[in-house]
Amino acid sequence: MTELEQQLTDHLQRRAAAATPRYDLEGIEQHTDLTSLVDLDHRRPRRPMVRTIVGVAAVVALLALVGAFTLLNDDQTVDTTPVTEVPVLPEPPSDDGPRTLATGDDVTAGELGEFTGRTLNIDAVEQDSEVTGEFRVNNVVVTIQCADSAYGGRDLILGGTVTDDPDGQGLVVSAGQGLVTDPQGGLEAAVGDLVALIIRNQGRVTLYHPSLWYGEQASEHTGSCTEFVESVPGGLDSGFFQTVTAGEIETSPLPGTPTCEEWTERDVTADDLDSGCSDGGSLAAPATYECTDGRVLYETRRLWGYVGEPAHTREDGAEIYAPDAEHEACGV
């Protein structure tokens, strides 16, 4: 331990010892009763009935138009996507009409903390380089404004702004629990905030909010939606988020993505790190570090190595990280 570290340890212990916890168990019980009333005042008012009626009428009219259009065009392709699937559709771009980037109705999340049982609806369309649509987590609506296919096409990232929250639930990113709608469970993305939905191959969905990654710098983010989705950092697969495993989501690996096992049999290149490797049910995006000797260290949860050398793994497939000495030499 360095002198500064020792100084810091002593300082923190002194400050912690000087803290005076305020015992107020009764206050918590009373506060709970009171805030349940106070919260009602703070909640965003529910959508006025008139707006609801107008909205329903508009939807009915739109459905009627779509139905008529479908009847007039017998050869029109009908979306037969089954419920609870979010296929990422890698159709070639077409100048003739819109391209569906992602769609899914009432996708139910698998077992994962508070996210269990939440529903996700997605409808993202691209036309003339413009991305539109929305995704919903329960009733919280995010209007999609842009999209990006990152990491060599492994992820589809849909960026947009939270535009409606009729129940006042908030769209909360809770560290370690994927995406939830629970104002007490984590960081809340309010109406007006930019968020991104990341759909990864093999059925994994993650919600990204810049504050978890950038901390206080998040409030300084004033860029466009495109800049925002491009700023989604690599390494999301290495533990920053618990991704949501939705068993019903149907995806297939993109061609050309090597398995992580292949990395143990040949030298790993810098390009390999950009595209990642397929690790069983997930895609591994390695974290990389520049070392003092000029080499580049990479690691995921299940492998590590240096660029230009094969990866190290454990035979039983258990977690493995680079040894401390390697970490130290690479400033980790």
Partner: protein, 162 residues
């Protein structure tokens, strides 16, 4: 014969007793850690109080209230930190005590100036004694992020102390 209302009342009582034990067990640790993250005894107590309220509301449905409480406190501290950052940008600093500060005051200022993740990582490592993986779990971040945060925090403090 036990009326259903009486049975519920007993259950509610048992729940309150269990929550009381949890509260007494966790309060001290959480407040001390929040003080280190925020530098204010009063605000730290408020944040921890709010987090306990959140736990109390969900007491019947939480399988593991401990991790939930930890996350709620950290998120509360993060929220306060973000508010302060905005205020710091808007308000001039009226007191510059760099010349006359004690070492402890100087370290307080340096910690207060760190980004939240760096400060939290430093507190969890040097006060909590947590490993890199444990810190990553607490902060909900990649294990690979923790080392650089601590290194950057120490480098900033070292530079300022020179």
């Amino acid at each position: 014969m036990v009326m259903s209302g009486d049975a519920e009342s007993v259950e509610a009582q048992v729940g309150r007793v269990a929550f009381g034990d949890f509260y007494r067990l966790e309060l001290d640790t959480q407040v001390r850690r929040a003080v280190l993250l925020l530098g204010s005894n009063d605000i730290a107590n408020d944040v921890v109080h709010d987090a306990f309220v959140a736990v109390y509301r969900r007491w019947d449905t939480l399988d593991e209230p401990g991790p939930y409480l930890h996350t709620a406190v950290l998120n509360g501290c993060r929220g306060i930190h973000r508010q302060r950052s905005r205020q710091r940008r808007l308000l001039p600093r009226f007191v510059d005590r760099t010349a006359s500060a004690t070492v402890d005051e100087h370290l307080d200022d340096l910690l207060a100036g760190l980004p939240f993740n760096q400060r939290a990582a430093v507190v969890l490592r040097f006060y909590g004694g947590l490993s890199t993986e444990e810190i990553a779990r607490e902060l909900g971040c990649a294990a690979g992020s923790v080392g650089p945060w601590i290194n950057r925090a120490l480098a900033t403090m070292r530079k300022a102390l020179q």
